[in-house]
């Protein structure tokens, strides 16, 4: 039975139950992956999956049942309602939602999963060959994955939404060694299913490989405070980690002290600073028409002219904070309930050129590219894949990868220049709780941060 046929049956079942709200999500997906470790192809495979969940709300408590056996669904609905009754102890609050009936097909003309494995492998072979051609490269790591997913969402308030989406992620790394010292540089790219966008990266792969070798003779940064300039990729990770997660209101809505800290109107940065999260930008990895609660996507200003003006909501957090829903409830797959997540998060471009940004820095660090990032809300760290000293207004010697850290409440205020060159990075994935990696994109122009703490020797 197709998931749509199952969904049709479920619409009748959920009407019969006594709950404040019930929704169900059914999914079917196909994926393929190819991985290289070194010259040899390590793993190649295809997977198909079908599954679903039912979520019920009773007196403020949630029940959630996930499954990939589509038989006996009435019993699963019953269990979700029973659990919700067990957990509930107050009035249910959900922001109102207009019932939506819609079918959204995938935007790409060609489903990437159906592209022959041979074509994908040939492209990866070319990239791998470039890495291996570089002297002093010890090994390579390549991971390619694509997916095509159809989700049917239905709710007791009458919504019935079918959405299809495709996704591609490609990660490459070159590992260089010399005398027991190991250095690696990576490149991450992705797309919303458009295979063309990950082709033709030969030059970038060559540059990545050369840089891994260069790092073997690069010094480690001396730890301490620096004026730091971030490239668009790293600044995108920075805005995601340093501020994006704090704007997810599931962290805010039931914590009075955090609510105080995050009062709308509060000044977080200079007047030049504007931060946006927008699932409505077409064609990015974080884009969609409806979130996993069936709410329409929005463009939300989080910071405007330096002031906190908005945050990201699920229906529940919006209702409890008496704010407008933003359509940011997302689940990584049917195994999990939707939680408040980012989509495409970026700093809007300003007017400063890169040359002007570094021209008056006597000693600083230019940090580029992306290894990773994480946050504890107040504190964040993020690591650069490439770093260079800035000396007397000029990019100087290469450094080993650096980890930068800061406190969101001071660091955003320390951004004193915002570039004119916004770029979106599609190579990331976001983790929250167990739900990782969720497709998102981050972006920014070049930015300059004063007094940024850098780890090192």
């Amino acid at each position: 039975m197709t998931v749509e046929a199952v969904a049709q049956e479920l619409t009748e079942v959920i009407k019969r139950h006594d709950a404040d709200y019930i929704e169900a999500r059914l999914e079917e997906s196909q994926t393929s992956h190819i991985a290289y470790r070194g010259r040899e192809l390590e793993s190649i495979g295809r997977a198909t999956a079908v599954g679903g969940n039912v979520r019920a709300l009773v007196r403020g408590g949630w029940g959630f049942v996930s499954f990939n056996n589509l038989d006996a669904l009435p019993g699963r609905v019953e269990l979700a309602v029973k659990q919700a009754k067990f957990a509930g102890s107050e009035a249910s609050k959900l922001a109102p939602a207009e019932p939506v009936v819609d079918i959204v097909s995938a935007e790409v003309s060609k489903n990437p999963v159906t592209i022959p494995l041979e074509t994908k492998k040939q492209m990866l072979d070319e990239y791998n060959e470039i890495i291996w051609r570089t002297p002093e490269i010890q090994t390579s790591i390549i991971g390619y994955g694509d997916s095509s997913k159809k989700t049917v969402f239905l709710s007791s308030s009458g919504s019935y939404i079918v959405q299809e989406r495709t996704d591609i992620i490609l990660r490459l790394a070159a590992v260089a060694t010399r005398d027991g010292d190991v250095q690696q540089v990576g490149l991450s790219v992705g797309s919303r299913g458009d295979f063309n966008l990950i082709q033709g990266l030969h030059q970038q792969v060559a540059q990545m490989s050369r840089h891994a070798v260069e790092l073997l003779s690069a010094p480690q940064a001396k730890g301490g405070e620096y004026t730091v300039v971030l490239d668009p990729v790293l600044a995108g990770v920075f805005v995601h980690e340093a501020f994006g997660h704090l704007s997810e209101s599931d962290f805010v809505y039931e914590n009075d002290r955090v609510r105080q800290l995050m009062t709308l109107g509060k000044q977080f940065g200079s007047e030049q600073l504007n931060i946006v999260d927008a699932a409505t930008v077409p064609g990015l990895r974080g884009s969609y028409k409806y979130d996993d609660e069936g709410m329409p996507a929005t463009k939300t200003y989080l910071i405007r002219e330096g002031k906190l003006v908005g945050r990201l909501h699920s229906r529940e957090t919006a209702a409890k904070m008496k704010e407008k829903p933003t359509g940011n409830a997302r689940a990584i797959n049917y195994r999990y309930p939707p939680i408040v997540r980012m989509t495409n998060t970026y700093i809007e471009p300003g007017s400063v050129s890169f040359a002007d940004m570094i021209s008056d820095i006597k000693e600083g660090i230019y940090a580029k590219n992306w290894y990773g990032g994480t946050t504890s809300m107040e504190m964040f760290t993020f690591s650069a894949g490439e770093a260079y000293m800035i000396r007397n207004g000029k990019i100087a010697e290469a450094l080993r990868p650096v980890v930068l850290t800061g406190n969101v409440f001071t660091t955003l205020k320390n951004i004193d220049a915002i570039g004119n060159d916004l770029e979106m990075n599609q190579g990331g994935g976001c983790g929250k709780g167990e739900q990782v990696p969720l497709p998102v994109s981050n972006g920014s122009p070049h930015i300059r941060i004063r007094h940024c703490l850098v780890g090192g020797r």
Partner: protein, 434 residues
Amino acid sequence: MENILAQAAKVAEEAEVFAVASEETQAQFEANRLKYLQTKQQTSVALRIVRQGKIGYATTTELDDRQNLVNNAVETAQFGMQAKFQLPAPSSYPQVKIFDSKMESVSTEEMIKLGEELITAVTGHTQGIICEAEVAKGVISVRIMNSRGGQAQYRKSFFSLGIEGNLVSGTDMLFVGESESSCRPLSESRAVAEVVLQQLELAKNRASVPSRSLPVIFTPHGVASALIMPLMTAFNGKTVLEGASPIGNRLGQLVFDQKLWLWDDPTIVYRPSSRPCDDEGIPSQRTPLVEGGTVTNFLYDLQTAALAHTRSTSNGGRSHGGLPAPTPSAFIIAPGKATFAEMVQDIKEGLVIEQLMGAGQGNILGGDFSGNVLLGYKVESGKIVGRVKDSMVSGNVYQVLKEIMALGSESKWVGSFLQTPHIYCPSLSVASKG
């Protein structure tokens, strides 16, 4: 399963079917109260074949769709790696106790009660703290069959409880937390709560550290957050085979401090990381990795072992639903002789690190790490004086573990992947703000 195997055997020289079924119940608490009850059922089947000498692989959640699964495996085998291994013939497996039939009778009420006890203990200690907690139980069944007649199956039960508290004052945020897991139902929340209360006590006052090299004590959580990922990568037979492990060519050599003993052990009773066999059906074994500072073994699955001309160490794991790859079960570091109090007393000025945020983002292969002290304490003249913030600690795992001042006398589980004592290091680089 037999049908899939039979169908695959028609088109391949060798075939193996790996099936997992699990059912899990979770009680989740948010903002100090019960928020979610969840039940998750999942089944999946993975088919690995060797066809014309090459490995093919496919997975599905649809057990009826045999033909599609076999077709997908055959398609991928055209491009697959040359199979260098033989699937295991029938063998006997060690008795590893990992199932407790009492798990089924643990009621949702009991799980909720445990979570509520935990939260009451923590909120009763510190006013204004907001806690998230989770109590979970479940059962997982694993079955492996291959075309050489090899067969294994086991059932594992698991139970976990954990709490994370967040205390906000002004713009300052303090995060504390602890968890515990077992294959048997846990009926006590006190031990977990006490760890959290101690963290809250030690973090009450604030202290600052200078930017220079300082002695550091890593708590078991600290070891997990800063030191263990690079080691797990370095002892992975695949990293070694590629020549990317810094210790790959140092088998039999003294690489670490002589006080260090480290092994991988999937046979410890009632541990969620234990099992009678790995995901390829190879009987579980304890594998010594470092003995008295000397590197003694690396971890292998079948294919990597064959390529390296050695034997599988029963570390074939399918952690991401993909082909088996060398995967640690649980790393165990042997305890030493010093109590935590003795280590602290020994320090004139230094740090205790519970949580180093971002340490796993650096050059893992080379062993470099650098992270923000998310939870850590300052030591002055032999006493913990308060919580340290706005500081970064950087080092290299191989340098840190080459000169260990002392290992703690008590070991502790961190999650299900590490059991370790405190580790006391003479000197690490600290960069501090302001």
